[in-house]
Amino acid sequence: MPITSLKLQNLRKRFHSNPVVLSLESLSLYDGMVTCILGPTGCGKSTLMSMLAGIDLDYEGTIIADTSGHFRISYQFQTDLLLPWRNVTGNILLPFEVSSQKCAPEKLEGLIKSLWLEDVQEKFPEELSTGTRQRVALARALIVDADLRIFDEPLSAQDFASRLHLEAVLRSELRRSDKISIIVTHNVEEAIVLGDRVLVLGGSPTRVVADFHISGLPEINRPVAARKSDAFASYVAQASAALVSKAPPSR
C-alpha cells in the first residue's frame, strides 16, 4: 500500500496585493488520518481548502501531494451545489459520470441507506429541505474513492439527533477508506468526535494556534460514547481555550 501524504510548506495567501491573511509554516497530513480544522468565521478555512483542492492556485509556498499515481480529490463545499436538473441519484453519481466510470451499485445503495436518502432518490433538489440537500452533497463527496477528501462544514444544516447518526457514518466511512481526510467545522465537539487530529486556526494573519491528536476515545458508537468519556471533556477544554486565546481576525 503506497503511502500518500500532503505536505504544506511556508504557505502564504494574500488577496491581490493586500497583506498576508493566511500563513502556515509546515504541516503534513498523512493517509488514514482524519484532521479536523476549527477556527473563527472568516479566518480563511475555506480558502485553505480550495488551495488544498487545487482550485485556488494563487498562493506562495508549496503544497506537495506525495502519491504513487493520480491524486483524486473529493470536496464537499460549504453550500450543497446540487444540479437542479438532476434528481438525487443523478447528483450523487455526478463524479462517476465526469470520470466515465461505473459506480458499484451496492456502494450507492449503502450510502443512500446510511445517509437516510432512500425516500428521496427520485426527487429533485428544489423539492428537498436544506438538511436533506446537504446529505445528498455528503453522499456525492463520500461515493468517490479519493486520496484527499475535504468536507467544509459537512453537517452544519443537520439537527442534533441526525448529527449524532451522521457523525458515526462519516467517521466509519473515513476510517475505512484510509485516505487523507480534512473536515472543517465550527463545532468543537464534532471536531473531537470525528477527528484523529484537531488543528485550531486563529490570529492575524491566520496560523495554526493549536495542533493536538485525539486518542483514547471509544470507537464503537463513537458520537455518543465519546461525549461521555472523561478525555472528551479535556479535549473540548483544550480546543476551546485555543479558539478564544486569539482575537478573531479583523475584517
Binding site: S74, N87, F124
Partner: protein
C-alpha cells in the same frame, strides 16, 4: 392542469358574440362592410385561396425564409454568445458591436439588402437572421454568466475537463435561457419577415396582405392576419414541444418543471 371542456367552450363565446355582431352590422350597412370587411367573406377568401393554391404558395414564400432564418439566427447567435462568454477578451471587443447591432431594427437595412440580394428569399432570410441572432447571443451569454462559479470549482474537483463541464454543466444551465430567447425570437423573426415583405417582395403572406389592402379588400386583409396568428401559435407550440423533448433523460422521471425552476435555490 387541463381545463374542463365546458370552460374551454366558455372561452369561445366572446369571439362568437363579436363575430356575429360584426357580421350583422356588416350585412345591414354596406359602409361598414367596406371599411371593416365581413367575417364570412374572410372565411370564403381563406377557403378559395386554399383550394386555388395561392395560400400555399404565399405561405411557402414566407415560411421558408422565416424558419431557415430563425434556425440559422438562433444557432449562430447562441454560438456567438458562448464565444463571448468563454473568451472574455473577444467578448470585450465584440460587446459594443453586438449591443449596437442588436439595438438596430434589422429591417432598417432592408433597402440595402434589397440592392445586394434582390427581393427574394435570400433577403428575407438575412433579415430574419439579423432580427434573431443578437437576442440569442445576449441570452446565451447571460445564461452562461449566471452559472455560480462554485459549480465550476465543483466540476474541477471531480477532475472534469472543459468538454465535460460544457456538456454536464453549461449546456443544461443555459437551456432555459436559450428557450426563453427562442420564444422572444419567434416574435422578432415574424416581424422581420413581414417587414421585409412589406418593404419590397414578389410574393408571401405579408406581400399578399399589402396587395389586398391596396385593393380595399378588407376581408382578405383579415384572412392574412389570421394566417400570421396561426404561424405564431404553431411556432410557439413547436418551441414548447422542443423544450419538453430537450430535457435531460434523468429528469423525465417526473417532478421536474423545466422553465420555471428557481435559480436562487442553487445558490
Amino acid at each position: 392542469m387541463r381545463d374542463h371542456l365546458p370552460n374551454q367552450l366558455l372561452r369561445v363565446i366572446p369571439l362568437l358574440v363579436l363575430l356575429s355582431a360584426w357580421e350583422i352590422l356588416a350585412t345591414t350597412s354596406s359602409r361598414i362592410a367596406f371599411l371593416f370587411g365581413r367575417p364570412t367573406t374572410t372565411f370564403t377568401v381563406l377557403i378559395s385561396r386554399t383550394f386555388d393554391g395561392t395560400l400555399l404558395l404565399d405561405a411557402a414564400a414566407t415560411l421558408i425564409p422565416l424558419l431557415s432564418g430563425f434556425l440559422i439566427g438562433n444557432l449562430t447567435g447562441a454560438a456567438l454568445g458562448l464565444l463571448v462568454w468563454r473568451f472574455p477578451r473577444f467578448g470585450f471587443l465584440a460587446q459594443p458591436y453586438l449591443t449596437g447591432l442588436g439595438a438596430l431594427p434589422a429591417f432598417i437595412l432592408a433597402p440595402l439588402l434589397i440592392v445586394w440580394f434582390g427581393t427574394g428569399a435570400a433577403m428575407k432570410t438575412l433579415i430574419v437572421i439579423m432580427s434573431t441572432m443578437f437576442i440569442a447571443a445576449s441570452h446565451t451569454t447571460s445564461g452562461a454568466r449566471d452559472i455560480d462559479r462554485r459549480f465550476f470549482q465543483l466540476f474541477r474537483s471531480f477532475g472534469a475537463g472543459d468538454a465535460m463541464i460544457f456538456r454536464l454543466l453549461v449546456l443544461p444551465s443555459i437551456a432555459s435561457w436559450v428557450f426563453s430567447s427562442l420564444r422572444l425570437n419567434a416574435g422578432a423573426a415574424l416581424l422581420g419577415v413581414f417587414m421585409a415583405e412589406f418593404i419590397s417582395s414578389g410574393r408571401g403572406l405579408a406581400h399578399r396582405t399589402l396587395m389586398d389592402a391596396g385593393l380595399y379588400n378588407i376581408s382578405a386583409v383579415w384572412a392574412g392576419a389570421l394566417c400570421v396568428v396561426a404561424i405564431a401559435l404553431v411556432l410557439d407550440g413547436c418551441i414548447t414541444i422542443l423544450q419538453r423533448a430537450g430535457r435531460p433523460p434523468l429528469s423525465r422521471s417526473g417532478g421536474y418543471h423545466a422553465p420555471t425552476y428557481d435559480r436562487t435555490v442553487a445558490r
